[in-house]
């Protein structure tokens, strides 16, 4: 198995400046010491609550933001130290699709122009570029009549397909999908998910799929990383994670989304109490402890480390072993 993307001890701290002349600084530990690797050909999922640092990871890989520390490698290239040209070439091998389809495309140019722009930047002749655009549009099921429209004249599903088209028009190996379906209706979401699967098969793409919709992640991903307040708390292959989650937070996530089946209504529940604390001032020890019903004194003081519990199943919790969180899902 070849790792396409490797994050090693990546930290990203945002500085919030305020006060006169930005004298006072506060830090947001958006990503705090995260290591993971994405294997070529797989779909790697990241789930976690809002603000847990998922998008930040997505932005770190193409270096849309610089890391504070740690290293990021993309197919062997050290992204953090890459020169402008290297970085550009590396970026051309990636594609990005964002959550909000309505604002993912430049509202002032036609869909065709948006999709064509990467080709233009890569220096493709105009005619060839136009052909490629038509080709890609077909791939993502966008009719040619749609191409000459402006983004706001499109439905959400069409917009999202257009931004997928733009992301894959340079035939990247790796596509980052930051909640690509969460703004879409269920019926359209299915279209997009199917499209993503098709594309992956045809072009043997590697996906980084970010979402907080557990069923979708489960459906699409091979491996899943669970994040909480900037920390990676658990990492496992999908089947393993669903069968035997190790971290209480993973369990809470899995249980939180009610399954679309009235018969499951009286299933066992596991509900986290309280709200996620502030990122500028995260709790000491295990970051989950104020909300975790299993927390003991140790959780309050000592920060748990991420440990391997066999066959690449990583988790960071002091109480693994004491507890049996295994539920059949």
């Amino acid at each position: 198995m070849e790792a396409l993307v490797e994050l090693e001890r990546v930290k990203k701290h945002f500085v919030i400046r305020d006060g006169i002349l930005g004298r006072r600084r506060r830090f947001v530990h958006a990503v705090d010491d995260v290591s993971l690797s994405i294997v070529r050909g797989e779909t790697f999922g990241i789930v976690g609550e809002s603000g847990s640092g998922k998008t930040t990871i997505a932005r770190i890989i193409p270096r849309l933001v610089n890391v504070t520390s740690g290293s990021v490698k993309f197919s062997g290239i050290d992204i953090c130290r890459a020169s402008g040209r290297e970085l550009m070439l590396a970026r051309r091998r990636m594609g990005i699709v964002f959550q909000d389809p309505a604002s993912s495309l430049n509202p002032r140019v036609t869909v065709a122009a948006s999709i064509q722009r990467p080709l233009q930047l890569a220096g493709l002749p105009a005619k060839e570029a136009r052909d490629r655009v038509r080709e890609v549009a077909e791939l993502v099921n966008l009719g040619t009549e749609v191409l000459d429209k402006f983004p706001h004249e499109l439905s959400g599903g069409q917009q999202q397909r257009a931004s997928i088209a733009r992301a894959i028009v340079l035939r990247p190996e790796f596509v980052i999908l930051d909640e690509p379906t969460s703004a879409l209706d269920v019926s359209v979401q299915a279209q997009v998910l199917n499209l993503l699967l098709d594309l992956q098969q045809r072009f043997s793409l590697t996906y980084l799929f970010i979402s907080h919709n557990l069923p979708v992640v489960r459906y699409l991903c091979d491996r899943i990383a669970v994040m909480y307040l900037g920390k990676l708390v658990e990492l496992a292959s999908t089947g393993v994670l669903y069968r035997e989650p190790l971290h209480p937070y993973s369990l809470a996530l899995l249980m939180a989304a009610p399954p679309p089946d009235p018969k499951m209504r009286n299933r066992r529940r596991f509900i986290l109490t309280g709200d996620p604390p502030s990122l500028t001032n995260p709790p000491q020890g295990c970051r989950l402890h104020p909300r975790c019903q299993f927390a003991v004194e140790r959780c309050r003081v000592e920060e748990p480390e991420l440990r391997d519990y066999g066959s690449g199943h990583l988790a960071a919790c002091h109480r693994i072993g004491d507890l049996d969180l295994g539920f059949a899902m």
């Binding site: 305020d18 006060g19 006169i20 006072r24």
Partner: protein, 312 residues
């Protein structure tokens, strides 16, 4: 909060100093010199040189500026070259009139403009709304001098209800006030109207209705209360503007305000006076801005948090 204000004031002082440097440089670029501006042709060249030396105008510009600054810090704004009177005294004797006129004008403008804006917003789309907007737009666009003369002819000369010019008690205030207020109403009306309309579209208004408040209560406690925040802030942002913007009106109504003072001073290149007034108005702007921010903070807790956080 106090800390925040102090810091804002510090930046304000920086703004004031920079502004005075900008103006000083502009005035330095003027051809000729203040002595020639005011003197007869009877003044022979050697005498002009002597006078320039006496006023320190022969020194390099930066020396003149530093000298001016030094005196300013001592509370001395210098002496007017054209009139031989202390600048501080000149400004002090004009400022009350200007503040009286501009301040009252602002208050009256908002007292009229805000309710009208509210009416227009509540009656959005009706004839009344359109009439109000159109009429105030027209008022906004009337050239100032014209308007002043028109009002004077009607109310002072034909009807003899009001004094023509000068300051002889509250009645004298009416005409200059009208000239200043009427064109401004349009702006206030629009700000209020659009703020009220915007607020009325906010989801929390729906919440207020849903919890059973009467229509009037929603209008007053939820729409007006929130819409008035930006309106109030605009009051403070507009205030200094009004103070500097009334040369024509002061001329027509022989109003002893700062506009005329500074206009005359610019014409005669009376640098100390121009600088003095300029610094005065800039300072007033800075202060008004800060006051506006503080008031906004008092009215809107979301802003207050930023202010308070900035303080730690």
């Amino acid at each position: 909060m106090l800390n925040y204000v102090l810091k804002r004031l510090a930046v304000g002082v920086l703004v004031i100093i920079s502004a005075s440097i900008v103006l000083f440089s502009i005035m330095q670029l003027m051809p000729g010199d203040p002595i020639r501006m005011v003197a007869d042709p009877r003044l022979p060249p050697h005498r002009i040189e002597e006078l320039k030396r006496a006023w320190g105008l022969d020194k390099p510009a930066y020396v003149q500026y530093l000298y001016w600054m030094k005196n300013l810090l001592r509370g001395d704004m210098g002496t007017s070259i054209a009139t031989g009177q202390p600048v501080g005294y000149l400004i002090a004797s004009r400022l009350p009139y200007t503040l009286l006129l501009a301040g009252t004008a602002m208050v009256v403008r908002y007292l009229i403009g805000v309710p009208l804006g509210l009416i227009a917003a509540l009656r959005q789309g009706t004839k009344l709304d359109r009439l109000l907007v159109m009429a105030t737009t027209m008022l906004m666009m009337i050239p100032g001098y014209w308007f002043a003369i028109l009002l004077m002819m009607v109310f002072a000369i034909k009807l003899r209800w009001l004094p023509i010019s000068g300051f002889q008690g509250p009645a004298s205030l009416v005409l200059p006030l009208m000239t200043m207020v009427l064109p401004g109403i349009g702006g206030t009306l629009r700000v209020t109207r659009s703020e009220v309309l915007d607020t009325a579209r906010e989801p929390f208004v729906l919440t207020a209705h849903a919890k059973g408040l009467s229509a009037r209560a929603v209008q007053v406690y939820h729409i007006l209360r929130n819409a008035l925040i930006p309106v109030t802030v605009s009051f403070f942002l507009n205030l200094p503007w009004l103070i500097s913007g009334s040369v024509i009106i002061e001329n027509v109504f022989a109003w002893p305000g700062m506009g005329r003072l500074v206009w005359g001073a610019i014409q005669s290149q009376d640098l100390p006076v121009v600088q003095g007034v300029f610094v005065m108005i800039t300072a007033l702007t800075v202060v008004c801005n800060i006051v506006g921010d503080i008031v906004a903070g008092l009215l809107d807790p979301r802003i207050r948090v930023e202010i308070e956080e900035a303080r730690e």
